[in-house]
Amino acid sequence: MRFLNSRSAVVIAFTAALLAPVPTHADDLTMAGRMRLAPGLQGTRNANEQTERVTRTFKLGPNGQVDLANISGDITVTAGGAGDVTLEVVKVARGRSEADAREQLGLVQVEISERPGRAEARTRYPRSERRSTNVSVRYTVTAPPGTTVEARSISGSVRITGITGPVNAESISGDVRIEKGGRVERAKSISGTVDIQGVKLDGTLEASSVSGDVRIRDVDVRRLELGSVSGDVEVGEVTCQTAELKSTSGDVEYTGALQTNGRYEFRSHSGTVRVTLSGDVGFELEASSFSGSIDTELPITIGGTGGGRASRRALRGVYGDGGATLELTTFSGNVIIRKR
């Protein structure tokens, strides 16, 4: 099979996609069917743009699994539907001519497959012997809230709303946004931002980006692990028992209250670490910087366990009831503590 040349292999894959096991209820017309019957009736804004739409429905039950791997295009998953998972795939190709666009459409394959309790969709591009492929593929999914969702796109964004089952969302250059979720296991981008709101989870929420910001709001979790390299990490109105927020050149900002016996570690190398505190729980503080300054609006009583210390670059002491532990560290950035 290694010796199939790529063209024949593409034909086989296309055919295979058509012959994929058909679920028990009606589909929309298959891609080929639509093309055969009414090529001109597809949504075209102009002759050089060709569109294909495929819809599939899967009966996976309330706790099924959905795996989506897209390349150039967004993925949107929303809770809803009447117990089924519906997947709509829209391919849009732009070419120099109608024929060219249609050829491009055909070359980009979307493999949809189903196994008991699991549905999978994967976009595949051809080996690039040809000049630019201008095709985007959009996945839109509705699924029961308890579904496990794994979604990744290379240059598109990933947006997941209302899914309380386990969620893994990744994009390379696109943004990741998760709202009203439950078990967010991983949310990650390289150059895009990661935005998470309205998540409740008795576990760890992990999110990171390399050059994008990571923004978490209104979240109730046991542990937060957030990081970026050059982006900021911003956390607001969260309830968490432990938190580790890090950036290298971006700022780290925490706004909200602390939990008794909570442990909070915020670090940036050259950015600012800022805590704006509300609520009644105080903290034991260990703040240090190599060359940055430490500035607090809250009165810190120097002392506490481990000995007290106060200098321009280090501050150890207690605020309020000392209920939580707060470690703020920078290398050259500043540490700032404010009251809400």
């Binding site: 292999a9 795996d67 791997a69 390379i172 050059s211 280090a314 560290t329």
Partner: protein, 238 residues
Amino acid sequence: MSCDQYPEAIVELADGTLPDAERRSVEAHLERCAACRALAADLGRIRQAARTLEPLPPPPAVWLRLERTIAADAADRGTTPWFRQTRWLALAASLVVVAGATALMMRDPAAPPEAPPAAGNAAVGEIVQRIEGELKMAEQHYQTALADLERIAASDGSVLDPAVTTALRQNVALVDRAIVDSRAALDSDPQNVPARESLFDALRRKVVLLQDTIALVGEMSRGNQAGAADIVEGLKKS
């Protein structure tokens, strides 16, 4: 003995596997026979050249595709979700456990040290050295991976935004600067906790970035090219 009988013996002579008794007779023949001498010389050259043929490192993409396939195998057998498996298996960036380092870092400089400071520093220095040694190896793979990525991004039909590879380069440079800064600080003040933590943190951050970049090459070579192997894999699933 005619020359026809000598070539094998000559070869064995060159290999050093010729028994002593025969060696003298072969050597004697070589002194008399120019043609066999020429043969011996040629074979020696060929042998030397063969020894110097360069090792050819396989491209990192091979490992990543392999890893992916192995993970898919495991997934098929229901052992682990395919998506999660490939995450931190980045071969090139396997590192030494830093638990020892963390233990050292927990020592409060204000409290009496359990070991003389010099020993503590030496241990830290050694750990840093070991990590950096591993990083250096990973670095090579990273550079190759990044170059691959940039080539993919620049090629026609690529879906990878060149801004991503730029972002990766810039961010690794950023972390490198943090490493340099921290190390300089630590040199000037070896007991300084923030400097030490900064260094370790930056080193760890770099590992993550390298792993991300290398994994990205795997993604691109898998998702972006419907190579025959991929299609076969896809066919197996549909």
